[in-house]
């Protein structure tokens, strides 16, 4: 298992390198630093000096990949690629447009993001899996039919609607919770309860329907017939036999996102004024702060790969075929 993990991690390196090259190409090759400077400074009436100054302040005045003017290893390290992309491997993300260190900013914002995303994830998973099991249990009945109809309707509603309407109803009309804001510690509860609830509700439709399909597909398998032939009740069949097998495809979709929970939710955080990584990203996008976007892309892919590894590990929990292989 240890050797497996090491190999898995080793495989992550070329992927991250690919991500790195891709983002680098996107940010520095599609547009030259000059273009960016011109755009940041305003396209009209911009002097060459202003551009040069802008570039120098941000370290964009170096060559992209190879610095012929430097000595020794600096030929490679004194370049934009090394300074802006390769350094991310060691957690050095540089500074944002406002001069703050990105790595430190991320560290402080991870807390609120996690406080929002983790409960949403857990509650959502519990609710959807139980609802899907219920629909699978009563499959073929009216309740099942209308449940599926409700799911399709719910997944046809824009996520923005849930947020905007929920915020208006509970915060503005009913005044149950504050509209937005965040506090540390236990008092975070009153700020988080609404976004968590909305986050859960917004995801119900598609997840319930998907899990129900998985359960029903599993119910059609031969071993379920065997279980019934033993005289087991439908509840035992569902919980003991079907659920355990259906966990395998469910985990595939679920575990991979767990590490990405740290990234927070773009929409929720920005609507509810929660100072997490999601709102950080949105602010960066709106302010066209490329350094922050680049850093978030990199962290996002690191977390995705971590998710893939976690997924593989989680299989060993539910699938003996993997465990003993």
């Amino acid at each position: 298992m240890f050797a497996y993990l090491v190999r898995r991690l080793a495989y992550a390196v070329p992927i991250l390198l690919g991500v790195n090259l891709l983002t680098f190409a996107l940010f520095f090759v599609v547009n030259t630093p000059d273009d960016m400077a011109r755009m940041q400074l305003g396209v009209k009436r911009v002097t060459a000096e202003a551009i040069a100054k802008w570039k120098a302040e941000r370290g964009y005045d170096k060559p992209l990949f190879f610095n012929g003017a430097a000595d020794g290893t600096a030929k490679l390290t004194d370049t934009i690629f090394y300074a802006k992309s390769a350094r991310m491997f060691v957690g050095d993300f540089g500074a944002a447009e406002d001069g703050r260190d990105i790595a430190r900013e991320i560290a402080t914002r991870i807390g609120p993001s996690t406080a929002l995303a983790v409960p949403t994830f857990i509650v959502g998973l519990l609710v959807t899996v139980s609802a899907a099991l219920l629909l699978a249990f009563v499959r073929g009945t009216r309740l099942d039919f209308w449940g599926v109809v409700a799911c399709v309707a719910a997944m046809s509603v824009s996520g923005l609607f849930y947020i905007i309407f929920g915020q208006w109803l509970f915060s503005k009309a009913l005044r149950l919770v504050p509209i937005s804001g965040y506090a540390d510690g236990l008092s975070a509860f009153k700020f988080l309860v609404l976004p968590v609830a909305i986050g859960v509700v917004a995801g119900l439709g598609s997840s319930i329907r998907w899990y129900r399909t998985l359960f029903i597909e599993e119910i059609g398998k031969d071993y379920v017939r065997t279980a019934r032939a033993k005289g087991l009740g439908e509840g035992t069949v569902l919980f003991r036999h079907v659920l355990k097998n259906a966990m395998i495809p469910i985990l595939t979709g679920v575990v991979v996102v767990i590490p990405q929970l740290f990234l927070g939710s773009l929409l929720m955080e920005s609507f509810f004024g929660i100072p997490g990584l999601g709102s950080y990203t949105i602010d960066a996008i709106n302010a066209q702060d490329f350094s922050v976007v680049r850093a978030m892309v990199f962290i996002g892919s690191v977390l995705y790969i971590a998710g893939l590894i976690l997924t593989d590990l989680s299989y060993t929990l539910v699938d003996p075929r993997v465990r003993f292989d």
């Binding site: 273009d35 046809s156 509603v157 923005l160 990405q260 996008i285 892309v297 996002g300």
Partner: protein
Amino acid sequence: MPFQPVLLWSDAVLWLLVGLLATLAVVSRRAPPLAAAWRKVGASRVGMAAATLLAVFALIGLADSLHYRLALPAEPGKPAAYGVEVLSVLDGALSGLRGRNEKTYSAPLATQSYAMETAILANGGQQRDFPPLRYGGAQLKPGDSWMADVTMRGISGVVAGGLLWWLISTVLLWNARRGAAPGDAIAQIEPWRGVRAIFMKRPPGSFAWDAVLATLLVVCLIAGKLTALSAGYHVFGTDKVGQDVLYQVLKSVRTALVIGLVTTLVTLPLGILLGIAAGYFGGWIDDVIQYLYTVLNSIPGVLLIAAAVLMMQVVIDTHPEWFATAAERADLRLLALCFILGVTSWTGLARLLRGEALKLRELDYVQAAQAFGVAPFTILLRHILPNVLHIVIITLVMDFSGLVLSEAVLSYVGIGVDPTTISFGTMINNARMELAREPVVWWSLVAAFAFMFALVLAANLFADAVQAAFDPRRSAQ
């Protein structure tokens, strides 16, 4: 010529897509297994009701994709000159709605402005009051009842809509009867008795005429009522700059269609080619393609799109000389967004097709072709592609609704369409702050959400029917 046709890039692509879909329809008619699956879709009431609604949306969107520039008043001796504004056939049809702008917000069917204004009275005094709208209810003379006017218009609109439905259904049924076998249920219905067709007892497995006609009836009644009312009022109110919300909602349809369809034009070739090639050839080709999509997948979708859109913005902003008109610029940005969405979302399809091709290549008929020494590319084209086509069709219809929904989110995040392009996303984005006003300005939001819901629900239901017909195993019965 009183107008000059204009072909925007997105128009070209959209019409190209219409052509492709038509080709696909012809191809599937000729391939019995596909034709049988489509017949199953045709027999599904829900599926056909959704398809009818989608067709109505498609008509709106396509009418909005025939662009032209109007000729300016001719000056003798000079070559004909054309206006800068690029209009569409839909704009032409809705010229009433498009031109009648109020000053600012007004509620649905209102005759007065939303905001109080200080008016100077004839006697020199000042009075704060809601000023009457420029157009909304302008036909009312003092003393006329607003209620009576609205009711009258509503009733006449419904009646007109009913007549329109009768006309359309007669034409449709007459046309369908010509192609029907004598035993078909549809052949028993007189074409002008559309209502009977709705209630007829359909033999199971035959085309769901009842659902199509019933949906059309509902659409016609609503359209008739909206048309009649919109002649005298802003049915869905107006927005901050006084533009009619109904007009905006109808214009948004095209944007949604372009995003939902054109994106797949990018996804399909990438997904199909790379997916099938990875699965069929295996080996290093598979390794490279898998690496490619793991890299793309590993970047969180929104961030990748954000990064790409930001970069595209830089390109557009630094090259203003590329675009003759604002419309062209907005149009190209829309297309670029589709392209970016496509490039970032082909991985799902590719992975599905890879898995399928992996199974297919072990099948005996592929082996039989190999035993004849058939060239690999021919095998891909003759044996693999046709047998994964159902997956492609399912993915195409399933992705559509997701893309329409994501447009709204992307516009909110600020990486969506050009702010001047009317879309559900921009409408919601512009209107969401207005919920904080007192009284609440809700109509823009509600109209945008309602239309988007109708479009996406129709797409989802249609996708369900398609999936049930093409992939009975996966469909949740």
